[in-house]
């Protein structure tokens, strides 16, 4: 059974978001996603300062069998990236909601979080085979 922490938001492409006190959002991939991908061998992170639109591909996670785009769940500017993943991409497998976070982005104004899923809705999505 996938871990789906209740304090996070989710999107259907299997990224999670956490609202930070400074107004930024931390983004990673879900337990379901890391499990489906298998052992990660490489993470390509976005450039800090880049503006991304909601739904824009901005990172790539690569396992021994697949390379998958990571989509920005909301629009914003990339403020920080998790550079420890460059040498230790396996942190995404071992701790996807903690040390395996990918990047943070700061929305230009109030974040449009209306389309985001809560844990219950994301669980329902997985149960439907999504």
């Amino acid at each position: 059974m996938s871990q789906i922490p209740v304090d996070l938001k989710y999107v259907s492409t299997h990224e999670w978001l956490r609202a930070e006190p400074d107004g930024s959002f931390t983004i990673g991939i879900t337990d379901h996603a890391q499990d489906a991908l298998g052992d990660l061998v490489f993470v390509e992170l976005p450039e800090v300062g880049r503006d991304v639109a909601a739904g824009e591909a901005c990172a790539v996670v690569e396992s021994v069998k697949a390379a998958s785009d990571i989509y920005a769940p909301i629009a914003g500017r990339i403020s920080t990236v998790n550079t420890t993943l460059i040498d230790a991409p396996e942190q995404v497998n071992t701790d996807c909601y903690g040390a395996g976070w990918l990047f943070r982005l700061t929305p230009a104004g109030a974040a449009d979080t209306g389309e985001l899923l809560d844990a219950e809705a994301y669980r329902a999505l997985l149960d439907q085979g999504g």
């Binding site: 490489f42 450039e47 690569e62 069998k65 697949a66 390379a67 785009d69």
Partner: protein, 453 residues
């Protein structure tokens, strides 16, 4: 066993499974105007006997000319063993293998090829080869754009790069909104000038040819440093044989060398054959490997600890990443690479260096003899590898025709690609040209030009 694996029944079963009535429906994304129902100008089939005769007759027309023509493809001695071994049944395929367990020998050969190319280029990684030198340069340009990550969609492309290479790169990159910014050459030295970059808008990468199309050696260190100072990557497009004696791309400039080295592998064991097949090579620094197009063979151990070879770094390729693949050119020239690897193994580093130095010595001798003829001069001052530009006292094309009449391929007429150079002729001599060959060319050219005086 049929060569076409799907019977009509197989095809129908597959169509039924996906709910499509006809194969053509699978192509409905392609506008009808772009779908070709038949290829124009191709005659109907002929029997094996008739084709064999046609080919022999056409081959005979090629004659056995004395060749001083280079311009991107070069005649070198190839030991008889190279193609004897290459055409063994175990090797005789043009493709890289997908099934590692079934093709350890071929994979090991490609691994050896990659090791030799990285040693020759002083780079960290080589792919398993690409289609040819020109498309390898286009792939290198696209790779540099991905690596550069900026918004700059430009490549600095010297005018002294092979005109066909520039055309191929333009064809492949322009549709992706990438502009080629021409870097001029110095009219006195024929070299690409680092200073010229100062007047040009920023670019993601500078292409540096070595030697350049005129045969001239470029100031690779100064060019590399000038590109770096502007935040651009460096793409080396080199003659691989020349790299046996010149400073390799990995050592260019004050810091780190070129980012990507590419070129045509033809000088390494591939005969001149009506323009091909040849193959392209592409090497890079290890930090760039995930943006490298094509296949890479890696060496590993199996669970019993025995050495094994396998295709590696595959998730970026088209069979997994589809439209987002690093490259959609993966078909390589496996058989050419096989020949090249055997050629390099037989010659060794010393043999390659001797072939390169011998070619340089022949070209230098020939340049001296020809430039001493009345009205003939070397167009550019400074060192060259095995090719040089002559200025003739009259138009080049009729002179080449007169040389061809007596069985001499005199060189490449530059007047179409470089009209500003006047009556300019690009001449090549490799280690295959003897002193008697040089004397014959000199005497014949002297006689042809003398008739005119």
């Amino acid at each position: 066993m049929p060569f076409i694996p799907h019977t009509p029944e197989d095809v129908q079963a597959m169509l039924d499974a996906i709910g499509v009535t006809d194969v053509t429906e699978l192509f409905d994304e392609i506008p009808p105007a772009l779908r070709w129902s038949r290829v124009e100008g191709v005659p109907p089939g002929a029997s094996e006997m008739a084709i064999g005769r046609l080919m022999r007759e056409r081959a005979a027309k090629d004659g056995n000319d004395l060749c001083f023509l280079g311009a991107g493809a070069y005649e070198h001695h190839i030991p008889a063993a190279v193609w004897e071994i290459t055409t063994r049944g175990e090797f005789y395929s043009a493709y890289t293998p997908y099934q590692a367990e079934a093709s350890q020998g071929t994979l090991q050969l490609i691994y050896e090829y990659q090791s030799m190319m990285t040693a020759l280029m002083d780079m960290d990684v080589s792919n398993a080869s690409l289609y040819d030198g020109a498309s390898a340069l286009a792939e290198a340009a696209l790779m540099a754009l991905r690596l550069h990550r900026g918004d700059v969609r430009r490549i600095w492309m010297p005018a002294a790069v092979h005109p066909h290479y520039r055309e191929t790169v333009r064809t492949i990159v322009e549709g992706q909104g990438i502009a080629l910014i021409e870097v001029p050459y110095d009219p006195v030295t024929g070299q690409t000038q680092a200073m010229a970059l100062d007047d040009l808008p920023d670019a993601a990468a500078l292409v540096i040819p070595q030697p350049n199309f005129f045969g001239r050696l470029e100031e690779v260190d100064a060019l590399t440093d000038a590109a770096r100072a502007r935040g651009a990557l460096v793409i080396a497009v080199v003659n691989p044989l020349a790299m046996a004696v010149l400073k390799p791309p990995g050592a260019w400039g004050a810091a780190g060398g070129a980012d990507i080295a590419c070129g045509d592998g033809q000088p390494l064991g591939i005969p001149l054959a009506g323009g091909g097949p040849y193959y392209g090579f592409l090497c890079c620094r290890s930090e760039h490997v995930r943006q490298m197009p094509g296949r890479i063979v890696g060496r590993t151990v199996d669970r019993d600890g025995k050495t094994g070879y396998t295709l590696t770094l595959q998730p970026r390729e088209q069979h997994i990443r589809r439209a987002k693949a690093t490259s959609n050119i993966c078909t390589n020239q496996g058989l050419m690479v096989t020949a090249s690897t055997i050629h390099m193994a037989l010659l060794g580093a010393e043999g390659l260096a001797r072939a390169a130095l011998s070619s340089h010595a022949r070209a230098t001798a020939l340049a001296g003899q020809l430039a001493a003829l009345p009205g003939v001069s070397l167009r550019f001052a400074g060192p060259f590898f095995h090719e040089f530009v002559l200025t003739l006292p009259r138009p080049v094309a009729p002179v080449l025709a007169s040389l061809a009449d007596v069985g001499i391929l005199g060189g490449y007429d530059l007047s179409a690609a470089y009209p500003e150079l006047g009556h300019a002729l690009l001449v090549c001599a490799t280690e295959t040209r003897t002193a008697a060959d040089l004397a014959r060319y000199t005497a014949t050219l002297s006689s042809i030009l003398g008739d005119d005086a």
